[in-house]
Every structure is written in structure tokens, then in C-alpha cells.
Symmetry: C2
Subunit: 89 residues, 2 copies
């Protein structure tokens, strides 16, 4: 899970808002999409970036996909930034 993907995922306000919503509780793609004035395919692409970064994990429940926040990846990126390890930056 390259750390670069995490920072790129965090670079868009919609994706940060998705993370904020998921912090309250897991939500389906449709429920999340209802919080934004954007089409579902557009949101789906945002979800994909968050998934690729490992910031969220997805679980299928019948026909709906439920997204969960993965705090550990976020904390990893934050600690990397705080410590400014030379490793990857």
C-alpha cells in the first residue's frame, strides 16, 4: 500500500468528507452518495481511490456494498508525516 496513494486520496475534499462520514459509522455506497450533489459513478470513482489507498475497506451485504473506515492506514500516514521519516516521505 504505497503511502503516496494515501496522500493522493486525502487531496480531494469530497474524499476527506467521505472519511469523516465513515468515522460516524459504516455506510453503503448509495447512502454515502446521498450526501453529495454528484452522480453515483463519480462517487464510485472516489471510493475506488480510498480503497486503493487502503483508507476504507468494503464488505458486501446482499446487493449493497458497505464501506468501513480503516483508521490504521490513516494513522500510519499521519505518524509518518509527524515523524517525517526519510524512508518514503
Amino acid at each position: 500500500m504505497p503511502i503516496n496513494a494515501v496522500f493522493e486520496a486525502l487531496a480531494h475534499p469530497v474524499r476527506r468528507q467521505v472519511l469523516a462520514l465513515l468515522r460516524q459509522r459504516p455506510m453503503s455506497a448509495g447512502e454515502l452518495a446521498g450526501h453529495f450533489p454528484l452522480s453515483k459513478p463519480t462517487l464510485s470513482a472516489h471510493f475506488a481511490k480510498l480503497r486503493d489507498a487502503g483508507l476504507v475497506v468494503v464488505e458486501r451485504q446482499g446487493t449493497t456494498l458497505v464501506y468501513h473506515l480503516n483508521m490504521s492506514i490513516l494513522e500510519e500516514a499521519l505518524s509518518g508525516l509527524l515523524a517525517f521519516r526519510e524512508r518514503d516521505q
Copy 2:
């Protein structure tokens, strides 16, 4: 200083590496540029994004411009992310 500019500035590995270098000590644009296989104008554009985000401040010393890390802005963004304030993110 919109928080969004901070996250966008952090989204590029070269800019994160610049911050890591400045964490050691302030450096001139030229010295920073020497650490990357990129043209000076390209680095100058990266510096501009870091400046716009408030992550670095610049001080002129004769003919050279010396960049300093501005940790407080970085910590502000991090704490916002850790706390996940609904405010902006």
C-alpha cells in the same frame, strides 16, 4: 489559508521530500533543487505550492531565497485529520 491547499500540497512526493529536507534546516531554492533530478523552474513551481499552502515561508538573503519549514500549518492539518472535525475536511 484553506486547509485544502495543505492537503493538495502534500499530495506530491517531491513536495513531501522538500518538507523532509527543510525539517533538517532551512535551505535555499538552489540547494533544495540540487536534491532532485528536475529543472529549477519545476522545483520553483513546487515551492510555490508549498508557499501557497503556508507549509513553508521564504526569506531573502541577498540574491538567494531561503525556505523555512512552517510546522504549525502542518500540525494544524494533522490535528484536523486526527480529530476529523466536521468543519472542513
